[in-house]
């Protein structure tokens, strides 16, 4: 099923979740399940003014493509979208979007979770906090729980 259309994009602008969702099954009658995941910037109780997403421009899209191709190889997908933003992102704004389409729901759910777990731990993006008090905050630390989530897909 490596023929499933894979859309991978890295961009500074916000993305249109509705358009991506509508596009993945448009004009088809074989899609039974569409799962979307949208990751948003949280205000962290009001302390956060923005997240700044740094990325490795040469590698980020390549790595996202590798992760997407692996998902398409492991699950019978009919479509896959993965979009990741970079630059400054305000609380409430979307950071990442994953959409998967399949005939059945288990494949669509599992592939979306796999994509997010792998994007979190393998795609070269780093988040830095900007605080509302004007100070530059810390770099967000990687979480063990994310590594553990990614490990469950090992084979």
């Amino acid at each position: 099923m490596a023929q499933a259309p894979l859309t991978v994009r890295i961009q500074a602008e916000p993305f249109d979740v509705a358009a991506e969702l509508a596009g993945i099954a448009a004009g088809r009658t074989d899609v039974g399940a569409v799962v979307s995941f949208t990751g948003l910037c949280r205000a962290e109780g009001g302390a956060l003014a923005a997240l700044e997403l740094e990325h490795y421009p040469g590698m980020a899209e390549e790595e996202m493509r590798r992760v997407a191709a692996e998902a398409a190889e492991r699950w019978p997908l009919q479509g896959l979208v993965a979009i990741h933003r970079h630059g400054k992102i305000a609380p409430g704004e979307p950071i990442v979007l994953v959409v998967t389409a399949s005939a059945h729901r288990a494949a669509a759910f599992e592939a979306a979770e796999f994509l997010m777990d792998y994007l979190k731990t393998r795609a070269p993006f780093w988040k830095k906090e900007h605080r509302v008090d004007g100070s530059q905050g810390d770099w967000v630390e990687a979480k063990d729980v994310d590594d553990k989530a990614a490990e469950r897909w090992a084979r």
């Binding site: 040469g58 790595e63 780093w126």
Partner: protein, 83 residues
């Protein structure tokens, strides 16, 4: 070879990239990190916990024991926090 840095590795070293020619006994990614750490305080700071710094060769994740021979671009960065 071109060496690039990201996030706090970049901030600690104080530059996003540089062209360096490591000595011949620097064979692996771990060797390269150790050699970089010897170049000055800022490098020592970036690699103070060498097990936490990740690396990529020519835009692919690699392990510390991966040989660097033939690499055009080697990147060092913290664990990723995208998504």
């Amino acid at each position: 070879m071109k060496i690039v840095y990201f996030a706090w590795v970049r901030e600690r070293i104080g530059k996003p990239e540089e062209e360096l020619t490591p000595p011949e006994n620097v064979r692996t990614v771990a060797d390269l990190a150790a050699w970089l750490a010897s170049l000055g305080e800022e490098y020592a700071y970036a690699f103070e916990n060498p097990t936490i710094v990740r690396a990529a060769i020519d835009r692919k994740h690699v392990k510390p024991e991966t040989p660097i021979a033939g690499a055009r671009e080697i990147a060092f960065f913290p664990p990723m926090t995208g998504g």
